[in-house]
């Protein structure tokens, strides 16, 4: 058995110093070691998007990123969107516009949306669909997810100009 190697990173603004085996993936360390189970495992091959997290602001499949690769990085999971009891505007928008049903794809949708809106504050519906094309949803048919993203974009714009 090989030695564990050091992993020093931030998860939701909290600093962590762990020792992990090289073959472990980021999703495993998040869910099992840090007990952050908001990130979901479904297809395990990077296709479905339910394992999406943000690493230094960019969406990645945590099921395809070796944990040690995240050394020195700032990781954000869905748990890191709320501030205490206050929902992130993207979460609030999904809540108000029925942007989820079973919720399994939702953490991935939320984080992909956060990334999208950081780069494109006023996306069209078509742009949103393109941005979300890597996040599978079986329940909603995507329409209300697109509605939610648009509402979130509006709210973030409003908050910016306020």
């Amino acid at each position: 058995m090989s030695d564990r190697q050091p992993l020093h990173f931030w998860v939701n603004d909290e600093e962590h110093d762990l020792e992990v085996h090289a073959h472990r993936f980021l999703i495993d360390v998040l869910r099992e070691d840090l007990k952050l189970t908001g990130t979901k495992r479904a297809c395990d091959i990077g296709v479905c998007g339910s394992c999406t997290v943000l690493v230094d602001g960019r969406s990645v499949s945590s099921c395809l990123m070796l944990a040690l690769r995240a050394d020195g990085a700032r990781v954000r999971t869905v748990e890191g969107l709320t501030h205490g009891e206050r929902l992130h505007p993207v979460q609030q928008a999904f809540l108000e516009h029925w942007g989820f049903q079973c919720g399994y794809c939702t953490p991935g949708m939320l984080l992909t949306t956060v990334e999208l809106l950081a780069h494109e504050p006023s996306p069209s519906r078509e742009t949103i669909r393109e941005a979300l094309m890597g996040n599978l949803c079986r329940c909603t048919g995507y329409r209300k997810i697109v509605d939610s993203v648009l509402a979130a974009a509006d709210e973030l714009q409003r908050a910016r100009s306020a």
Binding site: A42, C43, I45, V47, C48, H97, W98, F100, Q101, C102, G103, Y104, R125, E126, I128, R129, E130, L132, M133, G134, N135, L136, C137, R138, C139, T140, G141, Y142, R143, K144, I145, V146
Partner: protein, 389 residues
């Protein structure tokens, strides 16, 4: 249906017009159709699709109708029941323990809405327990589009009992008769004298905290008034039926066989939309699943093993589902349904594939009989159409 229409010289819309159910009909399997808005749904879809407008080559429209159980379904033995327990707290909040489970469809929300409406407390003060089977009363399961109808009616029945109990205690407190009371928004007041009232919290406290007190806990078991089908399959197995029509417009690339679904219109007789966005969500989700079934999803076996990974078994992504999905909800206020509601969970998926396949036939004159209607199958059918091979 389209082929039958062509054989007898009717257009596909007229043949459906002439073969609709009406309220009060009894089917050959002894299903009793109470509310039935098949006609309204059909006309709504036709109006939206405008099928007689001239379209460019390669574009076509198609429709398909559905009906299914919308009031439970008595197919698991001679029972289709669900229980509900309501417990009113001292602070006026309401604990609902329902047999009906949440699978993501929004059942929790509907049950809370029904409970709040029936008892007269604010929605924000309702808690729903639906995942601890140590506490939950009997239910047959969340399937068959039955949750809103059956679990909902159990809550209605329990809620009415609780409302009665609240009225009895309040009548004492307000020194009036139960028939003189108005219960709404967490408050009980005297009819015509709204300043004379008590909060429901005060009613609960009064019931608990007195000599010879009582609890405000009620239960109700609702089993729909239906028949278990006999060995011949006949029997009114549902207390209400869901009806609807879908219409699809597609564009077919005749060289590659690729099908683009330009729009889909879904009209559903849902009795009553207790939560319109929730109902739309069910329909929109069903449309996406139906589209996948029609055009994309392909199961393969490799040496007897089903190939099952999401790299090879594709399901629709946001880019595969058209922006133009229109949901039309027709409310027929079914007398047996909770606040008139009927089930909608399964209906959303049922007519999608036939509507799309009919639209492909309208667009390029080929009839695909084996799903998914892949571009390769369409190219093959087009070659046969043109006598090429």
């Amino acid at each position: 249906m389209d082929e039958a229409a062509a054989e007898i010289g009717l257009d596909p819309f007229e043949i459906r017009r002439r073969n609709l159910y009406s309220p009060g009909d009894v089917s050959s399997l002894a299903f009793r159709f109470g509310t039935c808005a098949q006609r309204e749904c059909l006309e709504a879809v036709i109006a939206a699709l405008k099928p007689h407008e001239k379209r460019p080559r390669g574009r076509g429209v198609g429709i398909a109708g559905l009906f299914g159980p919308g009031g439970g379904t008595r197919v698991h033995g001679n029972s289709d029941g669900c229980g509900a327990i309501l417990k009113l707290e001292d602070d006026g909040t309401l604990q609902v323990i329902t047999g009906g489970q949440e699978i993501g469809q929004g059942g929790t929300t509907i049950i809370a809405q029904i409970a709040a409406e029936t008892v007269g407390v604010p929605y924000s003060g309702v808690r729903v327990e639906n995942s601890d089977t140590n506490l939950m009363p009997w239910d047959l399961g969340t399937h068959g589009s039955r949750n809103t109808f059956v679990a909902g009616n159990a809550v209605v029945g329990a809620g009415r009992k609780l409302r009665r109990r609240i009225a009895e205690v309040a009548a004492e407190l307000l020194e009036t008769s139960v028939d003189d009371l108005v219960i709404a928004g967490g408050r009980v007041s005297v009819h015509g004298a709204p300043h004379r009232g008590v909060t429901i919290a005060e009613v609960a406290r009064a019931a608990h905290y007195r000599n010879n007190g009582s609890l405000l806990i009620v239960e109700h078991f609702y089993d729909p008034p239906t028949e278990e089908p006999g060995p011949d399959g006949k029997g009114n197995k549902s207390a209400a039926y869901a009806f609807g029509f879908h219409g699809a417009e597609v564009e077919v690339d005749e060289q590659t066989g690729e099908v683009k679904v330009l729009r889909l219109v879904a009209a559903h007789d849902i009795g009553r939309a207790i939560n319109p966005k929730g109902v739309e969500g069910q329909v929109e989700g069903g449309v996406a699943q139906g589209l996948g079934f029609a055009l994309i999803e392909n199961m393969f076996a490799d040496d007897g093993t089903l190939m099952s990974n999401l790299q090879d078994y594709k399901i629709p992504v946001a880019l595969d589902v058209p922006e133009a999905i229109e949901t039309i909800l027709v409310e027929t206020r079914d007398p047996e349904g909770p606040y008139g509601a009927k089930g909608v969970a399964e209906p959303g998926i049922i007519p999608v594939a036939p509507a799309i396949v009919n639209a492909i036939a309208d667009a390029v004159g080929v009839r695909i009989r084996d799903l998914p209607a892949t571009p390769e199958k369409i190219v093959g059918a087009l070659a046969a159409r043109d006598g090429r091979r």
